[in-house]
Each structure stands twice: as C-alpha cells, then as structure tokens.
C-alpha cells in the first residue's frame, strides 16, 4: 500500500512526461505534414501598399500584380521553378439541384507543381485553357462530395455565377492547412477566365497573388531576391520608394511555427520533469522511513556479515525497483493519457520510442539518485545499536 503510494509520484511524473512529449511530438509532426501539404520552397508575392497623396493602403490594398508579372518571374528568375498566379474569390457553384459556396481560384497549370497537388481523375489545366480563357474547372474533393453524390464529375457541367463550366478533373485530397481551413473546398479555373468572366478586374491582367516555387530549399533566398528585384524593375520603383508588393516566405513561417511547438514541448516536458523530481523525493522519503523501520534487520544483516556496499546496494536496488515499476506503470498511463488527450482535444499525439526509453531510464536514475542517501544512511548504522533497536 505504502509502496503503491510512493510509486504514484513516479507514475504521475513519468506519465506526465510521456503525455507532454507525445503532445509535442504530435503537434510538430502535424505541422511538418501541413508544411508539406502547402507545397515546399514556396514564396507568395502579394500586392503591396501604395502611397497616393500621402495615404498609404495596407498590403493587398492595391491590385498591382498582373499576369505579365507572373510570366516574367517564370522566365527571368533562374532560381524559380514554377509560378502560379492566382485571382480568387468566393462564388456559388451549382450542379443540378445542388449548390455550394466555395473559393474559386483562377490560376494556371503551375498550381499543380507549386502546391505539389496532383490531379486525381481527369486532366489538368493547360496553357491553351489559359490562352483562350476556356470555361473549364478543376474541383477539390470537398466540392465534389457536396455536389456529386457518387457520380463521376468529369465532363459534367457546373454553373459558377450562372456561367456554365465543364469539369475537366478532380484534385487529390489535401486535408487541412496550417490555419485549419479545408484546402479541398476549392475550385480552380483558368486565370484568364476568372479575370474576364467571373470576378472582373480593375485593370487588365490583374491577379491577387503569385505563388512562386524555388528550385530547392537552398535557392529560396536567391529566388526571393530575384523576384523582388525583378518586380521593382517592372513596377519602376525608385531606390528610396516603398515596394508596392511584398514577398513572403512560407517555409520560414512554417519553420517558425515548428520552432514554437518545439519550445512548447520542451516547456511542457520541463514542467512534467518537476513532477518526476517530486516523485523521486517521495521515494527518498519512503526509503528513509523504511531504513528506520528496518534498523533491526540492518543490524542482523551486518552481524551476519553484510558489508557496507551489501547494505547500500540492497536499499538502492529497492528504490530502483520501486521507481522502475512506477516508471512502467507511468509509461502505460502516459500512453493512455496521451491517446485520451488526442481523442478529447482532437490534437494529434505521438509517443516516440525515444521518449518512452528516456522516461524509463530517467525513472531508474531517479531511483538510484534518491535511493542513495537512505542507503548510505543505512550502511553507516552501528551494528550493535541497530541490533538493540526496538
């Protein structure tokens, strides 16, 4: 009973460490997955603020990017692999008697490679589609689920803002984005069609953003520089003027998010370690009581020939066994606890072999560390006094 209570400290400590590490590992894994789902090595070019008559608009306030900018970036920046200009908006999409409001993005075939987002069935957008502004659409999985109950959507006609579009393909399922919205709730049409038929533009060729994929992670910085200088030149921005666009590095944002979760993991782990420490002190406490209670036994053992280290090892072993059993139970509790957390809170958790091993070894070390002082105390007893102890 008393041993069970003593172990409880270790159980809670190890359990907490395991659960916290599991939450942390799960979170950073999820972020890594989402990073991959966004597409890798991405830059996003947004139209920027513009100063006119002393009034500065915010980012995206002025539609300064055009389709020609996108083409120029693709042609003239050697570090850039693919470019996808995007002009998007929300629109009602109708099929038969069903309708669904979704995000419609006008883009080019570059979107497939920029976002690492393959086509599941049908065909992709082509340059020809963009050149002649054909009325064709690629649907995301969520849109398909909501409009087509099991019917193959390819070659069906849907209406977007009452304009008929032929479905040419369906994108593969992509899942949630880092921000938590459903990336599959999307429709892609040729950017020119979006400009001319769906959303209209304040000036010819306007797009809302340009997604740029660098050739590799190493090329990301040079791609950012090349895009910036190219756009400065194209937009005729003098050396002392503010840019009318901004280039954002998505990968950096992801890395920052991942670093944050890592810090959180370390923080949570540290807090949990404190409870492990408290558990260790509990073990020391109970071992000290045990040494006092078993003074006579220690005396008998000494009279019979137990040497200093025989006594020490006995008590250290007892402490280690106590904390290891606690560690194993704590490990089970931690695994159970982390799966409960992921069920209740919907967070992904992951118990790594490493953290399990770490917790196990750590509980052993706690046993040795906190078992040593009581064992040391026991070994210094005078056998005569110990034998006489009642």
């Amino acid at each position: 009973m008393r041993s069970a209570l003593t172990m409880l400290g270790i159980i809670i400590g190890v359990g907490a460490v395991i659960a916290m590490l599991a939450v942390g590992t799960g979170a950073s894994r999820k972020i890594a997955e989402q990073t991959a789902s966004m597409g890798s090595n991405l830059l996003i070019v947004l139209p920027g603020s513009q100063t006119s008559g002393g009034i500065r608009t915010g980012f995206g306030g002025q539609p300064t990017l055009t389709l020609n900018d996108a083409e120029a970036i693709e042609k003239e920046c050697p570090a850039v692999q693919d470019v996808a200009p995007i002009l998007n908006g929300t629109a009602q999409i109708v099929y038969g008697n069903l309708n669904w409001s979704t995000r419609v993005s006008g883009t080019t075939l570059g979107i497939i490679r920029v976002r690492d987002w393959p086509i599941a069935t049908g065909r992709s957008l082509t340059d020809e589609d963009v050149r002649s502004a054909t009325k064709v659409a690629l649907l995301g999985q969520t849109v398909v689920d909501n409009l087509f109950g099991g019917i193959d959507p390819v070659d069906q006609i849907v209406r977007i803002k009452k304009i008929p579009f032929r479905v040419i393909g369906v994108m593969e399922k992509k899942g949630q984005s880092v921000m938590g919205d459903d990336q599959d709730d999307a429709v892609f049409v040729p950017v020119t069609t979006a400009q001319k038929k769906l959303f209209g533009t304040t000036f010819p060729g306007m797009v809302r953003q340009i997604m740029v994929k660098a050739r590799s992670a190493e090329d990301l910085d040079s791609a950012e520089r090349q895009v910036t200088s190219l756009l400065k030149q194209r937009h005729r921005i003098g050396p002392k003027k503010d840019d009318d666009f901004s280039v954002r590095n998505l990968t950096q944002m992801m890395q920052a998010a991942e670093e944050q979760t890592q810090i959180m993991t370390i923080l949570l782990g540290a807090i949990a370690s404190v409870s492990l420490l408290v558990g260790g002190i509990g073990i020391m406490n109970i071992m000290l009581v045990s040494v006092t209670e078993r003074t006579r036994e220690i005396g008998i053992r000494m009279a019979i020939g137990a040497k200093t280290w025989d006594i020490r090892l006995q008590f250290i072993m007892e402490a280690v066994i106590l904390s290891l059993i606690g560690g194993v139970i704590g490990l089970t509790a931690g695994i159970t606890g982390s799966s409960v957390i992921s069920m209740m809170a919907g967070w992904p958790t992951e118990v790594s072999l490493m953290s399990a091993l770490l917790a196990f070894v750590f509980s052993g070390v706690v046993g040795i560390f906190f078992g040593f002082y009581p064992a040391y105390k026991a070994s210094l007893l005078n056998p005569i006094d110990a034998l006489r102890y009642e």
Binding site: R301, M302, A303, I304, G305, A306, K307, T308, D310, L387
Partner: protein, 237 residues
C-alpha cells in the same frame, strides 16, 4: 589450540565528563572446542565483552586476537568478513528476518559470501536438518514456535561452518522444556562438530551445560573456573 585471546582489553565510554569503564583490563584465553558460559549481573560488562569477541565492536585499549589475527586493526568491511566466516550469532530475540522463509533466513550469511544458489540451497537444507527442522524450510518465522525459531537462528549461525558460536541469552525467551532442547542442541554441536560455544546467561541451570564459567562484575573479570568448581563454590557461598 588458542582460538580467542584477549590481552588487557578495556572499553571506555565517554559520557559527558564522566568516563564509564565498561571493561577494565580483561584478559581471557579461550581454546578451540571449549563450551564457555559468561555470567554476571546487568551492567557487569559481559555484553560489551561479547560485542568485542563478536567483532561488532573494537576495544579502546588492549588486543583482541581471533585465530591469531589482531581484530583491532581491521576496517569495518574486514570485520564484517570475519563475522561472516568465523562467527555465528544466536540472540535472545532470535532476530530472524520476518516475511522470509526459514530456508532464506539460513541462506542469508552465504548471500554475503557469493556462494552460488545451488550450493546455498544444499547447505541451508543440511543446516536445517542438523538442528532438526527438516520439512520446515518454507515456514515463515511467524509460523514457527519460539524453540523452532531459535533452531532456525542456530542453523543460520552454523551454515558457513564457523569455528565459534556466540549465544547471547539464547534461552531467555523460551520455556524450561524448550530451553533444555536448545541447550542440548548446543551441546551436540560442541561435541560432534567441535564448534566452540560462548554463551551469555544469568540462569545457573543453563550455565551447567558449559564446561567453564567466567564471571564479570563492574567491568572486571572476577572468576574463571571449570563449571563443576564454580557450582561447588556457589553452594558453599
């Protein structure tokens, strides 16, 4: 052959300003194979003497030689080794480990001597057989009578084939009938196995099993006679 030689040993305890001479220049020689009883009232120094003979304590001055080794110069762990190899202890309160079977209690001294498990088992069973406790190997102390517990303690004392048994009032907690059985067991071990037995008692009846009696009073050795003479002296007195 001399087994134990005490040369002028004194044990002095410092109690504040006063010093207490628990033993005052005591010299005794004990031969191998003796059956010796130590008598004296409480506080006479007999327990202190036993502790020194049992290597649980070292004298303040004087020399204690056990099989010609000067025990006073040994470290704590060397003393533990000597207790393990040369001395068997039997106490008034039995001092068995609770919640531990008779067999495991008897195995205990061999545990500190790295004897392999199989040999430990064989020797412990043999020792239990010697003290007449066959078939009780797996009983725990609380399942045994006082006499049986004391037999387990004796088995534990002899299991390492020690030359000496130190018995500190071994019959103090036992009734007369059981006391006689235990004393007969000591006598048997003394005669048949040649084990030297040193017995502390204050019961004259128990002391008659010995062949030599030494008496302590106020830290001094006051009498050292063969048992027959000692008993005669008593009757005269």
């Amino acid at each position: 052959m001399v087994l134990i030689e005490a040369r002028d040993i004194s044990k002095i305890y410092q109690l504040g300003d006063t010093e207490l001479r628990a033993l005052d220049r005591v010299s005794v020689i004990i031969e191998k194979g003796e059956f010796l009883a130590i008598m004296g009232p409480s506080g006479s120094g007999k327990s202190t003497f036993m502790n020194i003979v049992g290597c649980l304590d070292i004298p303040t001055s004087g020399q204690y030689l056990l099989e010609e080794v000067d025990v006073g110069k040994l470290t704590r762990d060397e003393l533990a080794h000597i207790r393990n190899q040369k001395l068997g202890f039997v106490f008034q309160g039995f001092n068995l480990l609770p919640r531990t079977s008779a067999l495991e209690n008897v195995q205990l001294p061999m545990l500190y001597n790295s004897v392999p498990l199989k040999e430990r088992n064989e020797k412990a069973i043999a020792a239990l057989k010697t003290v007449g406790l066959e078939g009780r190997e797996h009983h725990h102390p609380n399942q045994l009578s006082g006499g049986q517990q004391q037999r387990v303690a004796i088995a534990r004392a002899i299991v390492n084939q020690v030359p000496v048994i130190l018995a500190d009032e071994p019959t103090g907690n036992l009734d007369t009938h059981t006391s006689i059985e235990i004393m007969e067991l000591f006598q048997k071990l003394n005669v048949e196995a040649g084990i030297t037995i040193i017995l502390v008692t204050h019961e004259p009846d128990i002391a008659t099993y010995s062949r030599r009696i030494i008496r302590f009073l106020d830290g001094h050795l006051v009498s050292d006679k063969p048992t027959i003479e000692d008993q005669k002296g008593l009757r005269k007195g």
